[in-house]
Symmetry: C2
Subunit: 314 residues, 2 copies
């Protein structure tokens, strides 16, 4: 249990080692995670999503400095789509965060999505848990805004920040529409560019389209903040908006609701992983040889096969 | 079993009724699907994905006419993200397909994704099965290229077509990068616009970046076709490229590989649905009351709870 103790003391090497062991599905890992679990679940998780080119990584870099100045231990999970096209550019961005690499109170972990547009890799929940056990608070989770991962992060996070930039066409906005709906805070980054005011107005208008006319005083109206991350402008305002959202969550009981949602998601993820393993083992038994080929040629019935597999799960 | 017979005879009303029953989780549905299953699995499934504004729906409309001229029964699944923003525009596009609505050999079904950027609704596999049982071949599956659904469709489809248009910025291309990798055929639609040649060249270049230098003669080099769907130009070339891909699949044995992949995906989807139901029932038992709240407050251990739930699955 020495490893758990070192992680709880905030040691980055031990945490990194535990994450590697988890990736390798080392059989000793569940015991360690079990020991960490009681010390977790209290950190604030902030999702930050934006397209490549939005300056999102620079923004995260500035936020790290902001929270470090408050004396906090900052965790960062940078989620990359594992695409040969975007991979290069995004890794380039990451380099900007390098200056925090020697700070022993900043812990940065990169993670690939499952498939190119897929959701989070199944270890995301474990990485969050380990970071919380280390004492990281807040934990910033950076995603590139192209798919399922953003929605999953929004399920884990208490606050979701969407990074936009002026000068992208309407079609970009349409693509991002789905992401707009998860935003608690918008930032118009590169706000020194032409079109910043127009974009602010557009976001306002979109939010009003979304607004359910229920007159509910408990509704959070997403904040819109201007930043020029490159010149470190507007970062305090952004942090302030995130803080306001946190206070609103607590005041309305939404904080517990969002944390409960995260518990459910993580638990179902855990169950799913275990089940996938067992199902894989069952289908590898000799009697199920070529099950997929037999299904394809309609020699067996998927409904009967499903019943058999479920019966064997025990 | 009258319903199954009517579906097998190609009757659209019966098929629509079965799909509604499936949506409502009617207990009689699995028996009907079981009866249909042996008559399915042979249709060609063609995925067509592109951003809003790419003219994708017009293109699908033209392809329907093309296959109707060949005397084929055409199935279409139009997958919509259920977003209040994009919803309007996309439904507008759909109207263009209306002229096929009275054709008793064209069966069109709209379907929402699960969540805004989520994957296919769990009934997608059932809808495909029912369309195949009706005799639909090919089945065109239209998606808007914003997320997980495209990747799932690519798993079901034998051929994936990606629709691009000239005049979108680099950032759009970056977003779409993940989708590029699933394409068997590209079409540059609205090819009468400025920038069409440039876009063709860009796609060529991207494909060469992807190309693994293994000198494998069995590798499919994605076709790039120009279309102006609005004026019905290039549709024959597009259909020809799709046909070439189909012949390549068969010649190389890849056709069976892709169909096997679909069987596996559909079977795991089936299993997952059944398991989700059972797990939901277990967690509703009195002894697990407030399980999520107890997890949140670290009063119970998720690893132990997971083991208990798995033990009860039987």
């Amino acid at each position: 249990m020495a490893l758990a103790d070192h992680v709880l003391a905030g040691d980055q090497r031990s945490a990194a080692r535990l994450m590697r062991l988890a990736d390798d599905l080392h059989p000793g890992v569940p015991k360690v995670l079990q020991a960490l679990f009681p010390h977790t679940g209290r950190s604030r998780i902030i999702g930050i999503t934006g397209n490549p080119g939005s300056g999102k990584s620079t923004l995260v870099d500035r936020l790290i400095s902001h929270y470090r100045n408050e004396g906090r231990y900052v965790g960062v999970i940078a989620v990359d789509p594992s695409s040969p096209f975007t991979g290069g550019a995004i890794l380039g961005d990451r380099v900007r965060m390098n200056r925090h690499f020697n700070d022993e109170k900043v812990f940065i972990r990169s993670m690939a999505t499952r498939g190119h547009l897929g959701g989070l890799s199944k270890s995301a929940g474990e990485v969050l848990l380990i970071m919380e056990a280390m004492g990281c608070d807040p934990i910033l989770v950076e995603t590139v805004g192209v798919g399922q991962a953003e929605v999953e992060i929004a399920g884990f996070a208490q606050t979701s920040v969407v990074v936009t930039v002026p000068g992208l066409g309407d079609e970009i906005q349409a693509i991002k529409a789905g992401i707009m709906e998860i935003a608690d805070v918008f930032t118009v980054n590169k706000a020194d560019r032409e079109g910043a005011e127009r974009l602010m107005a557009d976001i306002h208008q979109m939010l009003h389209m979304l607004d359910a006319p229920n007159g509910d005083a408990e509704t959070w109206e997403p904040r819109i903040v201007k930043t020029v991350a490159f010149r470190n402008e507007g970062i305090e305002n952004l942090a302030q908006a995130i803080e306001e959202h946190a206070r609103w969550l607590e005041r309305t009981g939404q904080d517990e609701q969002r944390r409960l949602k995260r518990e459910r998601l993580q638990f179902f993820g855990l169950l799913r992983d275990r089940l996938d393993d067992r199902i894989g083992e069952i289908l590898e038994q000799p009697e199920y040889e070529d099950w997929d080929r037999k299904l394809l040629h309609r020699e067996i019935d998927p409904y009967r096969l499903a019943r058999e597999v479920l019966d064997k799960l025990r």
